[in-house]
Symmetry: C2
Subunit: 340 residues, 2 copies
Amino acid sequence: MRIVLDAMGTDHHPAPEIYAAVEAVRRWGDPIYLVGPRDVLEPRLEAYPDVRDRIHIVHASQVFRHGEKPGQVLRQKPDASIAVGIRMLKEGEADAFVTMGDTGGALAYALLILGRIRGVRRPALIAPVPTRTGKYCAILDVGANAECKPEYLLQFGIMAAVYVEHLWGRENPRVGLLANGEEPTKGTPLVQEAHRLMAASSLHFVGNVEPKEVFAGEVDVAVTDGFTGNVVLKTMEALTKLITDALKEGLTLSWQTKLGALLARPGLRRMKSRLLDPVEIGAVPLLGVNGLVFIGHGRFQGPAVLSGIARAREAVAMDLVGKLRDRIAASLTPQEDAAS
Amino acid sequence: MRIVLDAMGTDHHPAPEIYAAVEAVRRWGDPIYLVGPRDVLEPRLEAYPDVRDRIHIVHASQVFRHGEKPGQVLRQKPDASIAVGIRMLKEGEADAFVTMGDTGGALAYALLILGRIRGVRRPALIAPVPTRTGKYCAILDVGANAECKPEYLLQFGIMAAVYVEHLWGRENPRVGLLANGEEPTKGTPLVQEAHRLMAASSLHFVGNVEPKEVFAGEVDVAVTDGFTGNVVLKTMEALTKLITDALKEGLTLSWQTKLGALLARPGLRRMKSRLLDPVEIGAVPLLGVNGLVFIGHGRFQGPAVLSGIARAREAVAMDLVGKLRDRIAASLTPQEDAAS
């Protein structure tokens, strides 16, 4: 299995990426293609003679930085590490690309170089959220498309159903539409029309869902537009941090609470395992582009980057792109099929 | 001060409402007007002879139930408890109305009976969210308008600024626009245009904010449309419950964790005080209608209903509606003023 890793994506690049590349080779044996400036990477890899021959440096002279505008810099940086990595997918030289770089940049390069899976209107970013049952619910789009049309939302549901069925082993996954109330009349015109389309589709569509149903684990997939999904995901991340920080602060209040925390440690560990953990999630796939592109946070450390590689390996193993291609093709009307 | 309380709003009505009415009279001395069916309320009040003469039953023969469609039932239920209570505001017989009934119903009756403050395009529901600083940030709209125009969002910011300035004592409150990124180019066309309007206004506008800035306490007000705001608020409620339930489960895992929890109790209490607490919040005002209408959750128990009364009393004391009226009038262009 050939995984390409962007060496320049994290805020502290390339140290977390080098950690992840080294550990990935040690863990799985397969080579890692590490994309970045050769003069930066070469000397840093000398410290790992046991895996050095299975980490292949792929030179990239440029970096697409976090916050840069794809519209302005995409063609000025044909040799950005993201571009070089994605081009390897296009050329069939690798099976999946993993980056902690800018989401907008990765999306733009992926669309430019790989294009979309035939019939897909818009790619979407999917992310897992924890639920009361201990299982994840997949939410999408969490940031690829601030503006959506109802047909996009239907396709997000179809793609996510493939994802959770094959990567998480959920049979006949339940798909909900995130809304401000359960009645089909709730929501914006976008949500109302998407509801109609999804209800008429072959999806196992359970209707509108509110956040409490999502966290209760009543759906396997929650579909929303990329603006709402992005704000909701960032709300979860920020609120989880607020609460866990408040807990830490409370538990270090005095020697007594510290002793209590020590005794309660098994319970606290169990609690932590139920929460949104970016390290465990690692990276999320961009569904709908014609190749496997996984994107993580710029602030990730090595273990989270390694998780991103693990997620990408799972997607390669079950041929996610092939399965998406089949399911999307089957969902198209003859008209849509002819137009795509 | 004359507060009217809907006796029929909570899921367990009228017990929580009667508790709140009784405690409100005991605490503040002022009479409470309790709206609902006289034959139901009369016998239940007999148990409280110490306050009985200051709880005035206002008969209402109908109830607008949670989940009913205002469009279908509004005129069929002119004597719903919500309608009767709001009519007392209109007639000058009371200073504020508090209900745990259906939000859509309360909004519809308020618009029908009280109308909007002159110049206000749309009323909005405002809610406090906890931040890292220990202070609240006000977020709106959390559910009155699923569809918004940019000018509505500007007015939401203006109204919320009045609210946090006068009710929370924040001078020159910082107003942010909730978005999927800090750059002014981020977001939907609605967000982009609202950004332009807010930047050109007299607000202390700090630009787009993401959830992490909201929870960091970097703004006093976060403005968004009623769809996003509702989903975000419900996400916060559901996630807070998920995490605190996971904590409880972890701490009751064994005798050892239970002992730890006992020792850590002061710290856990301190943590709890930093979280979203619907009981403390009690009820939130509908900003922009021509009167003080406070709405809480149907699932509230007595103490939360009592908090709702406390919030309403604060708003009466500082003449919230008068202050909103002045600030909105000052914000209108001569054209808008003539049109309103």
